[in-house]
């Protein structure tokens, strides 16, 4: 009986090893990563002397499972930036090795991914992509003093420690900005909010929104929750918002559910102003969605692929050429994240032969000194707390296109548009 187990265990181990040895090289050769067998060999060693001439940057995010779409976008965006930097001669002449590990959107797996990167002698980490894994990784990376920059971990705790920074806005920040924007531009007096109570991102924004709403000149007349298990039918929530006479409905969640909300609202002849957050970006690309329904939808976003900005145009074109799809904000955050790490490495005079802890100490200070012009913001700077300081862009959909609302004057014209439903360019 015992023999059986031993044999089966040995066979599985043998099988696993053969696969690793066999596929490691071919799999990673394309993007210049260290191969799988290197990862094993480097375990336990101090800085391997052979790899002293490249910067090793790791990434953590879900590339399998339900949240895979975010992780893959981050991976692609980061790899695009790494490729560009390497082609332009690297950072201070040193190339970047980028190694992205899967965390399946699970805190435990994220720590495993982090440890895998540690075995690879990682010097800086871009990740984790989603909030809960990011908090778990933050807790262990603090002990090891390894620098981490999360492209899209929005929960407050993600940047709790001083080795952690983020590219995106935090959840409360988005809720606060949304409420301020609605209040300052007098978009409505009665507001309803629909949110996903099972989602950290959505409920985080919602709570900050309601808190700030108390200071603004509008009233939250209905707050309706849904969960991940019931995110296909919103008629109850919409009916309640309609009965309460809400002129504006706040939708702090992702575009896939928002497209259903818009469709169902149109079906019941309810047409308030819809207001969303950065998760709304991408709604026009939903298959089978009538873009006309999204007309006059307003949302805060750090990134719009249709912007006229030269840098964004280049990023979008390159990304589309490489991966065959339009980049979303996750890809843009990751792209900026890699450039931020590059800028910090240059500002901190970091050399590739330093240990991860020394790199972290240097990057921690350098991050607060750099200013980068990225695709998600111009003049992006960081505070020591880890929060980025950038202004959210307000985007309005008109005639089936995203349009950036730049300033107050333009915002005024948004209101006019909302009233007359003329939908012309905000500029």
């Amino acid at each position: 009986m015992k023999l059986k187990k031993v044999i089966s265990a040995a066979l599985v181990a043998a099988m696993a090893m053969t696969f690793m040895a066999g596929c490691g090289d071919s799999d990673n050769a394309g993007n210049g990563n260290a191969s799988g067998s290197d990862t094993q060999a480097a375990s336990g060693n101090e800085n391997a002397s052979g790899s002293g001439d490249t910067f090793r940057i790791g990434g953590i995010g879900p590339i399998t499972g339900g949240a895979a779409v975010y992780g893959i976008a981050v991976k692609n965006g980061a790899e695009l930036a790494v490729k560009e930097i390497n082609e332009a001669g690297g950072i201070n002449g040193a190339q970047i090795d980028f190694n992205f590990q899967d965390d399946e959107h699970d805190a435990e797996k994220a720590v495993n991914a982090y440890n895998t990167l540690k075995d690879w002698d990682v010097q800086a980490i871009l990740g984790a992509v989603t909030s809960a894994p990011c908090v778990a990784v933050g807790e262990v990376s603090k002990d090891d003093n390894i620098f981490m920059l999360t492209p899209s971990g929005t929960a407050v705790e993600c940047v709790k420690y001083e080795n952690a920074f983020r590219v995106c806005f935090s959840d409360p920040m988005q809720g606060l900005e949304s409420a301020k924007y609605i209040g300052e531009h007098n978009l409505a007096t009665k507001v309803a909010a629909i949110y996903d109570s099972s989602d950290v991102y959505s409920s985080g924004i919602y709570e900050a929104f309601v808190k700030e709403a108390a200071n603004q000149n509008f009233e939250v007349v209905a707050a309706e929750a849904f969960t991940a298990e019931s995110k296909t039918d919103f008629s109850v929530q919409l009916q309640k918002a309609k009965d309460a006479g809400a002129e504006l409905v706040f939708l702090p969640f992702y575009y896939s559910e928002a497209s259903l909300v818009l469709k169902q609202a149109a079906g019941m002849n309810y047409s308030p102003i819809f207001f969303g957050c950065d998760g709304m970006d991408g709604i026009l690309a939903v298959k089978g969605f009538d873009a006309a329904l999204a007309d006059n939808l307003i949302f805060l976003s750090p990134f719009t692929p249709t912007s006229d900005d030269e840098m964004i145009q280049k990023f979008v074109t390159d990304y589309e050429a490489a991966y065959g799809e339009t980049p979303n904000q996750f890809a843009a955050d990751a792209y900026d994240g890699i450039y931020a790490i590059k800028a910090a490495i240059e500002a901190g005079n970091v050399t590739p032969d330093l240990s991860a802890s020394d790199v972290c100490d240097a990057l921690k200070t350098a991050m607060t000194q750099i200013t980068i012009d990225g695709v998600t913001a111009k003049g992006l700077t960081w505070e020591a707390s880890g929060e980025p300081s950038k202004e959210p862009m307000v985007v309005k959909i008109a005639n089936g296109n995203y349009a950036v609302v730049e300033d107050d004057a333009a915002a005024e014209s948004v209101e006019d548009n909302a009233a007359t439903e003329n939908g012309e360019d905000a500029e």
Binding site: M1, K2, L3, K4, K5, I7, S8, A9, L11, V12, M15, A16, F19, M20, C23, G24, D27, S35, G36, S37, T39, Q40, S43, G44, I63, T64, G65, D102, E104, H105, D106, A107, E108, V111, N112, Y114, N115, T116, K118, D119, A132, V135, A136, G138, E139, V140, A155, E157, S197, S198, D199, V200, S203, G204, Y206, E207, V210, K211, A225, T227
Partner: protein
């Protein structure tokens, strides 16, 4: 004389099981101090302990009691959340990690055991596969209850809500401890590998002694033939409930280890839902129903496998599934068993000849 020998046989078998665990522990400790273990493996050690305890405890229900439980992750969830809540609340009150952790373990196990009794009382009175249905529902209910639960604390005491953290009405000095779907953040990291191994040994001690006790024989008699067991005066419900609640309490211990190893604890379908229950059941089935050593081994192999396959990146999960099927066939298909027996017989004969 014959009786002595018989007792020695079970004791010997038990001792071998303990020895395997201790030997593995010693090997890992030596390798760690020699610096030969990667950080990945080091990070996996504590979760491994939790999964081994879960697999062994589920084997008590599935293998010894002969009832199917599909909600083992639910009991784990109860243990994890009650203990994490306790540790978070008393982090300042009891600064000594060891004492706090001991209380957390007791609370987690007691809460999970209590849930086991509550679920078991109605379900275990019935004949048939009702326990599977009830535990399946229990696991999902617990996950959803935790996801709407908001608990905060301020100078006035505890506040509860099932709506959102704003309606807790906390004073400015208050803090939210259980934050609905965002779970508990900042649980002290008290689980260590050594404590985990001690808990595995305690679990094994409880389970193995139960199996070989008078109660254990009664439980197995119910499994083998309920009518016959009833006819000789065994209280069927009592013994079923005993095995099931012990199994649930031990799952709670697994949850405590899990919760005190990560800084964030959220009840996702992935870690406390149906998937996890099935995952633990896979450990048990693959290791052999009723075979405690098999459960330990299967839990180790199946937890390590997806991590060791990381080098394959995109194909990782695909290969994992294929390996799982291959292992299942190799272990349990009649032809494979026959082939193995033939070869191991040859091996044994050769050995005997040499002797």
């Amino acid at each position: 004389m014959r009786r002595m020998k018989k007792i020695n046989k079970t004791t010997k078998s038990n001792l071998i099981t303990y020895a395997i665990v201790i030997a593995l522990f010693a090997a890992v400790q030596i390798l760690t101090s020699a610096g030969a273990i990667s950080s990945l493996l080091q990070g996996l050690l504590v979760p491994l302990c939790a999964y081994i305890i879960l697999a062994v405890s589920l084997n008590l229900t599935v293998g010894i009691l002969g009832e199917l439980s599909l909600g083992h992750a639910g009991f784990m969830c109860v243990g994890a959340f009650t203990s994490a809540f306790f540790s978070k609340c008393t982090a300042e009150l009891i600064p000594v990690a060891g004492v706090r952790y001991l209380f957390a373990l007791l609370i987690g196990a007691a809460a999970a055991g209590l849930c086991g009794i509550l679920v078991g009382i109605p379900a275990l009175r019935l004949k048939g596969d009702y326990l599977a249905i009830v535990t399946l529902a229990f696991g999902e209910i617990i996950k959803n209850v935790v996801n709407i639960l908001f608990i905060g604390r301020d100078s006035e005491g505890f506040h509860f809500s099932t709506k959102d953290s704003l309606s807790l009405g906390l004073l400015p000095d208050g803090e939210v401890i259980v934050n609905g779907p965002q779970g508990i953040t900042g649980t002290p990291k008290d689980s260590t590998f050594t404590v985990g191994v001690i808990l595995i040994l305690v679990t094994l001690f409880i389970v193995l002694n139960l199996i070989h006790s008078r109660s254990g024989r009664a439980i197995m008699a119910i499994r083998d033939n309920r009518i016959a067991a009833e006819s000789i005066g065994i209280n069927v419900t009592k013994y079923k409930l005993m095995a099931f609640s012990i199994s649930a309490a031990l799952a709670g211990v697994g949850g405590v280890i899990y919760a005190h190893n990560l800084a964030t604890l959220t009840a996702q379908p992935k870690n406390f839902g149906y998937n996890m229950s099935i995952m633990i059941l896979v450990f048990v089935v693959l290791g052999g129903i009723g075979n405690i050593r098999g459960s330990i081994l299967a839990a180790i192999v199946l937890t390590l496998l997806p991590e060791l396959l990381r080098g394959l990146s995109d194909y990782r999960m695909l290969i994992y599934a294929v390996v799982l099927i291959a292992m299942m066939l190799f272990n349990w298909s009649p032809k494979a068993i026959e082939w193995r027996e033939r070869h191991s017989a040859k091996f044994k004969r050769k050995k005997q000849k040499e002797v």
